[in-house]
């Protein structure tokens, strides 16, 4: 057989276009400018609304403290995310292998998800040591999207491929490892991307709930502490750091997803125009 029919090959980079970088930065600069002008013209005192210059200065002067706190929060976030990944994928595989387990447990996974973490966090702090409670909170918030997406992925396998594996007499383990898990990978990574942000939120919620209890030293704890002391510039500085951390987590997980899927999945390929 010859290969007369030409292959349409289409791959692209991360698809970065200049307007998509320049425009948000311009918007940000404009926002900061207006913020600064409002603070100056209205002569607003710093304990109500600090100007951007003061926030930046605080970020620099309190850097050592804030950086340590950021590391604590990030450690919780990543531990929570790792546990959520293991738990979510593990549970999804279990559900996929046994209808009985799925029907028994799935409703409770949903209940765990729909109950607001803010309301659960104080209770966790009653029963668990603080560090474990914060981690548990991050886990609870983050694991559901991974579970739901991976379950969907495991159930979305091409029926013909399932038949093909059956014809060749593949065992359940081989079907799982060679067919179902690879097919579920894009879904799983989609869930992970959502879970990354949620894990940070879970960590922050638990830190704030634990805040008055004392021993915490994460960024959210710094925010709570600063609020009691009316140290508004430090609140802003900590908040900015949290935002940056959230964006960085999302970008890192997007990059991971792209690197894993770039050779074969539609989501990572450019459309031909």
């Amino acid at each position: 057989m010859s290969s007369a029919d030409a292959p349409p090959v289409a791959t692209r980079g991360l698809g970065i276009e200049w307007p998509r970088i320049v425009l948000p930065i311009a918007t940000l600069a404009l926002g900061i400018l207006i913020w600064d002008l409002v603070v100056r013209i209205k002569d607003i005192p710093p304990f109500i609304l600090p100007g951007p210059g003061l926030v930046a200065a605080t970020l620099v002067s309190d850097w050592a403290l804030l950086w340590d706190s950021l590391l604590v929060t990030l450690a919780t976030t990543f531990d929570g995310l790792a546990l959520a990944l293991a738990g979510g994928v593990g549970l999804a595989i279990l559900f996929n292998q046994s209808r009985l387990i799925e029907h028994s447990l799935y409703p409770y996974a949903v209940i765990l998800q729909v109950t607001p973490a803010v309301a659960v966090a104080p209770l966790l702090l009653v029963y668990l040591p603080q560090q474990a409670a914060v981690l548990a909170c991050a886990w609870i918030v983050a694991f559901f999207p991974i579970l739901a997406n991976t379950t969907l992925g495991l159930n979305s396998v091409d029926r013909n491929l399932v038949n093909l594996f059956e014809i060749y007499g593949a065992s359940r383990v081989k079907v799982l490892l060679r067919l179902k898990l690879p097919a579920a990978l894009p879904y799983m990574l989609g869930g992970l991307r959502i879970a990354g942000g949620l894990s940070l939120i879970g960590a922050v919620v638990a830190e704030i709930a634990a805040g008055s209890a004392g021993a915490g030293s994460g960024l959210a704890y710094r925010i709570a502490e600063s609020s009691y002391r009316l140290n508004i510039p430090r609140m802003f500085a900590a908040l900015i750091l949290l935002s940056i951390a959230g964006i960085a987590i999302f970008l890192a997980l997007s990059l991971l997803s792209y690197l894993v899927l770039r050779r074969w999945h539609e989501s990572a390929l450019a459309s031909e125009r």
């Binding site: 057989m1 010859s2 290969s3 007369a4 029919d5 030409a6 292959p7 349409p8 090959v9 091409d158 013909n160 491929l161 038949n163 093909l164 594996f165 059956e166 014809i167 060749y168 007499g169 593949a170 081989k174 060679r178 067919l179 690879p182 097919a183 990978l185 050779r263 074969w264 999945h265 539609e266 390929l269």
Partner: protein
């Protein structure tokens, strides 16, 4: 119309296998009723002999795909049985004994052409070195050697189908089952793949059961056409196509081809309308 008649079209001498060659698979009164009550197949008797190229021809709903799936071991007949006599080791059929080509290429999008073709050998636990050599041979046979590291997404429809055929052939199965494999392709690609398939069949010498709803395709490819009726699926008649191989594009334009197509076409319309 339940009776099975045989029409033989007088043709010059043939290189088709004699009707006495050993059966590979035999269907005895195979009936399949689905859980929803649909009677898909009703009392199918069919013997496929070694080296034959048999087409199952019929309109959609005649159960031809169901028959093929049963032969492949996907599901059990409600009544009747399938005797398998083509197994290479012992009497039990295993995964290496059939190759199956679906209507869609049905490739794993996350694996390269090479890994896709290697799948049946990997599932059987064939030694990696042996498997690698075998996959290279098959890829060369279907003309895809230079695309071994490409992903399915990067291939055209015709090339994906060739990968699918290579995967079915990689175990060197005595029986190749094809379920409307070229139905979704454009005519030019389909003709080309028809020729390539005949070439492969003549070179390898396996038995082929080919499901199609195209009269032209069935006449061009096969030495026997089994015409089926829809709802419920029954064998209406069998037509032997005695035109000699190799068949090529000149056969497509020959008077014999036209005549065979007319006969098959009439049989198909009788089968569809239920008038013998």
């Amino acid at each position: 119309m339940t009776g099975t008649r045989s029409k033989t079209i007088a043709m010059p001498p043939t290189n088709a296998p004699p009707a006495t060659s050993a059966p590979v698979v035999t269907l005895h009164g195979v009936t399949k009723r689905f859980a929803n009550g649909t009677l898909a197949l009703d009392q199918i008797d069919l013997t496929i002999r070694s080296g034959e190229f048999v087409s199952l021809l019929g309109p959609s709903g005649c159960g031809k795909s169901t028959a093929l799936r049963l032969i492949a071991g996907l599901g059990e007949p409600t009544r009747g049985g399938i005797t398998w006599s083509g197994a290479r080791s012992g009497r039990r059929r295993n995964g290496l004994d059939v190759g199956f080509v679906f209507q869609e290429p049905t490739l794993m999008p996350w694996a390269t052409v090479f890994r896709n073709v290697m799948l049946p050998l990997a599932l059987e636990g064939v030694d990696h070195g042996v498997a690698t050599q075998r996959v290279s041979q098959v890829l060369e046979r279907v003309g895809l050697t230079s695309f071994r590291d490409a992903y399915p997404r990067e291939l055209s429809g015709g090339m994906k189908m060739r990968v699918s055929i290579a995967r079915a052939l990689v175990t060197d199965p005595p029986l190749l089952l094809m379920d409307e494999p070229f139905a979704a392709l454009d005519e030019i690609t389909r003709f080309k793949l028809n020729n390539d398939l005949l070439e492969l069949w003549r070179a390898v010498g396996h038995t082929v059961i080919f499901v199609t709803h195209s009269v032209f395709e069935s006449v061009y490819l096969s030495n026997r056409i089994v015409v089926m009726t829809p709802r419920p699926g029954r064998v209406f008649t069998e037509i032997n196509v005695d035109a000699p191989y190799p068949r090529d594009d000149s056969f497509r334009t020959s008077a014999e081809y036209a005549r065979c197509c007319r006969v098959a076409s009439q049989a198909l319309s009788c089968a569809t309308e239920g008038v013998p």
